[in-house]
């Protein structure tokens, strides 16, 4: 089942998805680019804002729903995915987007990621990965490189970072991509593709923190490192190759679709819909439910 019906592109402009709340991100923050790319993608998709539920956790990045005209839910730290799953299951008609930061998504919220993926719930998950805790002013993040000095790792981090791309591939995700606001058109396209993908889609965005981030993560620093997977001729249906490329997270900076399952399996929603259809005829009226408790003789 296609999760999103394609509507005439002209129906909406990116501006229709921008709210009048003024972002309070630091000037130059990468997240400005993400909201721009996202609103472009949404215009391309063509679903009206009120049919979109946009969920986030807590962090600079998680402020993003408020800057769109969708129904937004800026929840609590690390719990955007469970809440988004509840929304999608409660109303499968909605387009459900989730935004998160590297800390929100892979530290406190990391325990929810494998489960949404193995359930294959049809939502699009965008992580703004700046390798730092921005909102709380510069602490170690799970994607900060080993040795990195931050406000909570004054003598350097002693741990290997999380590899978001590799993890989600390992969990069996069917759509895995990485983008950067440096390539705005590309990022918008990736988000659009993720939304159109029938099933769970993950997009890691290298969205630099200008205030607490390192030099080489800034858009300027990215310029020399960014390698476009499309231009490289990567075949996104090649899972083994995708895993190989994902391994280089932290050293290389690839953008584009790493993996798109050419034969995606059923979504959770598909299973639920089928079950509803099969079982609905068995329902007794809700007001007769107590009849279940009329005893029958037993030994």
């Amino acid at each position: 089942m296609n999760s999103v019906e394609t509507l005439p592109v002209e129906r909406f402009q990116a501006g229709d998805f921008k709210s009048d709340l003024k972002p309070i991100w630091c000037p130059g923050c990468g997240d400005f680019g993400v909201v721009t790319a996202l609103t472009r993608a949404l215009a391309a998709i063509g679903r009206p804002p009120h049919e979109i539920a946009f969920v986030s956790g807590i962090g600079c990045s998680s402020r993003i729903p408020g800057y769109t005209t969708a129904y937004g839910f800026n929840t609590v730290h690390g719990r955007s995915l469970p809440i988004a799953q509840g929304i999608k299951l409660a109303n499968p008609e909605l387009l459900v987007l989730v935004a998160s930061g590297d800390g929100d998504g892979f530290s406190i919220g990391g325990g929810h990621v494998p489960h949404v993926i193995r359930r294959n719930i049809d939502i699009t998950y965008i992580v703004m990965d700046n390798q730092i805790y921005g909102l709380t002013k510069g602490q170690l993040s799970p994607t900060s490189p080993r040795g990195r000095k931050t406000a909570t790792s004054n003598f350097g981090s002693l741990e290997d970072p999380v590899n978001p791309l590799l993890y989600v591939l390992g969990y069996g995700a069917s759509f895995v991509a990485q983008g950067s606001p440096l390539d705005m058109a590309g990022l918008a396209k990736l988000i659009e593709e993720g939304i159109r993908f029938p099933g769970f889609a993950f997009i890691n965005v290298q969205s630099p923190c200008v205030t607490y981030g390192e030099e080489d993560q800034q858009l300027k620093g990215q310029r020399t490192r960014l390698q476009n997977l499309g231009a490289m001729g990567h075949d996104p249906s090649d899972r083994a190759k995708a895993i190989e490329l994902a391994r280089e997270y932290g050293t290389k900076l690839y953008t584009g679709v790493l993996y798109r399952n050419p034969t995606p399996g059923p979504t959770y929603g598909d299973g639920v819909a089928q079950r509803h259809q099969t079982l609905q005829k068995q329902a007794v009226p809700r007001h007769d439910i107590l009849k279940r408790f009329i005893p029958s003789p037993t030994a």
Binding site: G66, G72, F73, H276
Partner: protein, 597 residues
């Protein structure tokens, strides 16, 4: 003749003790008797000791407690393991398996010599008639049916049904085993006839279920469409019932990876416009704390059931306690209020669960429903419920002009603001855990924060006058007052009867709404009260303390509070009342010792 019979049966895990109890209570329900059955097991999952305790009566049964009228021991080691849970007195009729080799005048029971004792070759009878020791429970059922006059027909039907697939021979064998029990009873009549009299309200069959299933069924009746949760004893059966049923109504049961995600999904479903619930027990409640706070500030309706077990921490997972009330009221950080309801019985679980959904939807709030292990897992006969008498409340959705320049958190007089949901055109807004203005925009303004706190608290004021959520029994002007809640309320009700029999002028208040504390109701109740007791199963006397926060409880009203696992008995209440009354009469100004157990 008896009008109230308490039967305890204990044996090894495979002895079929519980199924004997179940066939008896089922038969009783079909014949219009009132009954409650509780089960208890050792800590093993399988193969340990098992017991059940069955109280059957011709009039409503208020609790399963009290010393046994009848004790059945399939072996003595296992029986003794239940200690205080199966208290034998000299008047108890004891029935036991002969092959234990114990002589009737040397029962291994400390300090009691029951006068009526039957040694019965139960296993031998089972083997002889049904050809297998497995039929022991059938023999026991026959014995009890014979001596106490219940369930003969229905158990025979049950046997035929249960063994039908195994062929006529097996059916016959079991019927004979049952009949052997009946015959044994007939051959050894009790000196005094102890058969149960006719049910007072006639022989109309009753419903039979436990608190967890009742809660789940009530949720479906109330329109619940989404359950998100994670298994935990003793609440899991709610999820299990819903998983068998809710899909039929287009609903969903979502087994999450943990309790946080379980409630998270519920919050999401509620945001998406659906009636949603979760159910858990203490440790799960603790994990849900942060998410409950989010639901409060985002004003999202949901029902969160806590089937209380013994705490703290993992505590006593299979025993009842009433020690999560403080948590229900106060676990979240920040100022925030969520209503807390508690049913007193399996039957009461129906209206109170429906009420929980109604309050959640009307006030746009999480509601905590405090059940407990006893109510949740005991089987109870329930009078047929006329569901057409119940009102189902839907959340107030914005319409027309309200959607023109929609303000999700509008400061209205009632504090209740029409709530939209994704999919509703024009209702778009930002929900958040952060403080916000009427439109949902984040703010750090102290003025706005104060206004929103006022809104979020004041909207609940009407609840404090919901007198229908309180039961008062006894004379309005009685000088002695009892207050009790949850499963223990049934004990207090029985104590009230006993106290009245002894000529005490006493009344009882049972709040089903525990929080916010309904000051007017308590003040009215205490107006005539000189002394009394809060009867509750917690170390800290949590309801007593909670009420004190908001109400000037008369000084001579004291807690009778005990840690969980060993239930409070009506006799305990009576004794405390007597002491209190005596002290008061000698010295009305005396402040007796607190009775916190």
């Amino acid at each position: 003749m008896s009008n109230d019979l308490i039967i305890g049966i204990a044996g090894a895990g495979g002895d079929g003790v519980v199924s004997a109890g179940e066939s008896l209570i089922t038969a009783a329900a079909l014949e219009g008797y009132h009954g409650i059955m509780t089960k208890s097991f050792g800590s093993q999952i399988r193969g340990g000791e098992a017991s059940c305790r069955l109280r059957l009566a011709t009039q409503p049964v208020l609790n399963p407690n009290g010393p046994l009228d009848v004790a059945v021991a399939l072996n003595w080691e296992d029986f003794r393991r239940f200690g205080g849970e199966l208290p034998v007195e000299s008047r108890t009729i004891v029935i036991y398996e002969s092959n234990t080799g114990v002589s009737p005048d040397r029962l291994p029971l400390e300090g009691v010599k029951p006068s009526v004792v039957f040694s019965v070759p139960i296993t031998q009878m089972a083997e002889k008639f049904a050809g297998t020791a497995k039929a022991k429970n059938i023999v026991v059922a026959g014995l009890l049916a014979g001596w106490f006059g219940i369930g003969r027909e229905s158990m025979l039907t049950g046997i035929r049904k249960k063994f039908a697939k195994k062929g006529a021979e097996v059916v016959n064998g079991n019927v004979c085993a049952f009949q052997a029990g009946l015959d044994f009873a007939e051959a050894h009549p009790l000196k005094e006839d102890r058969k149960l009299g006719a049910p007072e309200a006639g022989r109309q069959a009753k419903l039979l279920t436990d608190g967890n299933d009742m809660c789940a069924a009530a949720a479906i009746f109330a329109g619940c469409n989404f359950f998100g949760g994670y298994p935990i004893t003793p609440s899991t059966e709610i999820m299990q019932f819903l998983d068998r049923e809710i899909w039929k109504y287009g609903g969903t049961v979502f087994q999450a990876e943990d309790e946080i995600a379980g409630l998270g999904a519920v919050v999401g479903a509620s945001f998406a416009g659906k009636k949603a619930m979760t159910a858990t027990s203490g440790p799960g409640m603790s994990l849900k704390t942060e998410m409950l706070g989010l639901a409060s500030i985002a004003e999202l309706p949901l029902v969160c059931v806590n089937v209380q077990r013994g705490g703290p921490s993992t505590g006593l997972p299979t025993k009842a306690e009433q020690s999560d009330l403080f948590q229900a009221a106060f676990s979240a950080h920040g100022d925030c209020l969520r209503p807390v309801l508690a049913p007193v019985s399996v039957a009461d679980t129906f209206p109170i669960t429906v009420e929980a959904f109604n309050i959640a939807e009307h006030y746009q709030t999480p509601v905590i429903l405090l059940s407990d292990q006893e109510i949740s897992q005991r089987k109870e006969t329930v009078d047929p419920i006329d569901t057409s008498k119940f009102q189902i409340v839907e959340r107030r959705r914005p319409a027309g002009a309200e959607l023109a320049n929609y303000a999700r958190f509008k400061l209205t007089d009632s504090g209740i603001s029409p709530i939209s949901h994704p999919g509703m055109e024009g209702g778009n807004y930002l929900a958040a855990g952060i403080e916000h203005d009427e439109k949902g925009r984040p703010t750090a303004s102290g003025e706005m924060h104060a206004k929103m706190n006022d809104k979020r608290f004041n909207k609940f004021n009407p609840l404090k006058n919901r007198r229908d959520l309180f039961v008062t029994i006894g004379d309005q002007d009685a000088p002695i007052g009892l207050v009790s809640w949850g499963s223990v309320a049934g004990v207090a009700m029985e104590a009230l009867r006993l106290a009245k029999d002894q000529g005490m002028h006493v009344k009882l208040l049972i709040p089903k709404l525990l929080f916010p504390v309904a000051e007017p109701v308590f003040e009215d109740f205490f107006a005539s009260v000189k002394c009394g007791l809060f009867v509750e199963q917690s170390h800290q006397a949590q309801l007593y303390r909670l009420v004190r926060m908001y109400v000037d409880v008369p000084r001579q009203v004291k807690p009778l509070a005990k840690s969980g696992s060993n239930p409070i008995q009506p006799g305990d209440v009576l004794e405390c009342l007597r002491k209190l009354v005596v002290t008061m009469q000698c010295n009305p100004n005396h402040q007796p010792e607190a009775m916190v157990g």
